[in-house]
């Protein structure tokens, strides 16, 4: 096993993350979550359970939420990846979902927050006017051990409101 590890084959992997193209040489077994954190130093993506249960590592793959710990980086190369670092507005201000988390106190320790932000960003694109029940359903795949979820549900609804206000202001 040890000998195998030292001679492990590396693959050229081109990852597009938050619009930036990165060329890496990685072993096939490098998880996307680890490639983002260790190789690209994008440590906003958090790693909790590493088997798909907690949702902390959720990133957007071509706009759809997926678990970064359940994908190999080498499989991710034909896709546009968005991490929490890519959510803010072009001028650097917080995105509607990020602003809503701040407004509603939707985070405490912050460990789970990146996964919630990516999941809700995609969820609101699919359903821009969620009811409270739909907001709960939207975040059902993400675990938070601090907040008790109440303020996260409120933040989902507030983010929808901010998005609407933005659209009205720009129209």
């Amino acid at each position: 096993m040890t000998a195998e590890t030292t001679t492990e084959q590396l693959h050229d992997v081109r990852l597009t993350v938050n619009g930036v193209v990165h060329d890496l040489r990685l072993p096939a077994r490098r998880l996307l979550s680890d490639a983002l954190r260790h190789d690209l130093r994008l440590t906003g993506t958090h790693v909790g359970c590493e088997h798909g249960v907690c949702g902390a590592c959720t990133v957007l793959l071509d706009g759809e939420p997926v678990r970064a710990c359940l994908m190999f980086a080498v499989s991710a190369q034909d896709h546009e990846i968005t991490t929490v670092e890519g959510l803010s507005r072009p001028d650097g201000r917080l995105s509607p979902v990020q602003q809503a988390f701040r407004d509603c106190h939707g985070l405490q320790c912050g460990f789970c927050t990146p996964g919630f932000l990516t999941t809700i960003t995609a969820g609101l694109r699919e359903n821009p006017t969620p009811s409270e029940d739909e907001a709960r359903d939207m975040i059902a795949g993400n675990l938070c051990r601090c907040t008790g979820y109440q303020n996260i549900v409120a933040a989902v609804c507030r983010a929808a409101e901010i998005t609407r206000e933005d659209e009205e202001a720009s129209s």
Partner: protein
Amino acid sequence: MKPAPFSYVRPTTLGEALAALEADSHAKVLAGGQSLVPLLSMRLAAPSALVDINGLSELAYVRTDETGVRIGALARHAEVERDPDARQVQPLLSKALRMVAHATIRNRGTTVGSIVHADASAEMPVVLCLLGGTVTAASSTGTRTVAADDLYVGPLETTLRPDEIATEVFFPALPPDAGVAFDEIARRHGDYALCGVAALVRADASGVPTSVRAGYLSVSEVPTVVDLTRAFGSALPTEAELDAAADLALASLDPEGDIHATADYRRHLARVLTRKVVRRAFEDQASRSTGGAS
């Protein structure tokens, strides 16, 4: 938790993928990876090679006609769940798919992958068995079709050979005289169910049942379908008939206990869910036959 080293190929044609599998009897196919990657990360599995079929875009399809729904090996659960034609032709698919893990997992996980992963706690294998579907398996020597009844032999074990790729599953259409329902109980939303039941009821023009069958997940080593027809005789199931059906089901099931639930609790869940889901399948059948199908 990191996977052991493996060699990796990403073929662009099915022929290349089959050749790669044939060349290494310890290779595994990687599609959605939502069950495989955790197994690798926990080192419960350590295949020598992964054949990543995500480049075979010709397998990313959901095709529907009046006979049923054909799902290619790269169709994600979310795509099947959202497909309006599939929902209409075989409504049990979307009813069960929305219980498969979380939406985020369904964005990546594939329906075919779930079926050949053969986890007896998973939803789609039991749906395939209840509906009498088939799996198409390709190898470099040809293609064969395997009936659901001949597919599952044990936990995580099918009759597919290591050199075969399941390229498609077929779910037959819901007959016009039929109704379906699905439900399960899990500790937490999106967890594997402690017990789940799918039911298929067929009835004659006066509503008298001609066939009542239920499929069970998480209570046996393989997805298990039990024929409950002889418990029923009337158009609207009575409480006594539902009790008799639950007795009949439990006689065929031998749940085991684990850290999530005792065997007794699983038996209890199987009883409660049999009554509830079979009743709902009767209601679904009645609403379809009166043209009120949703």
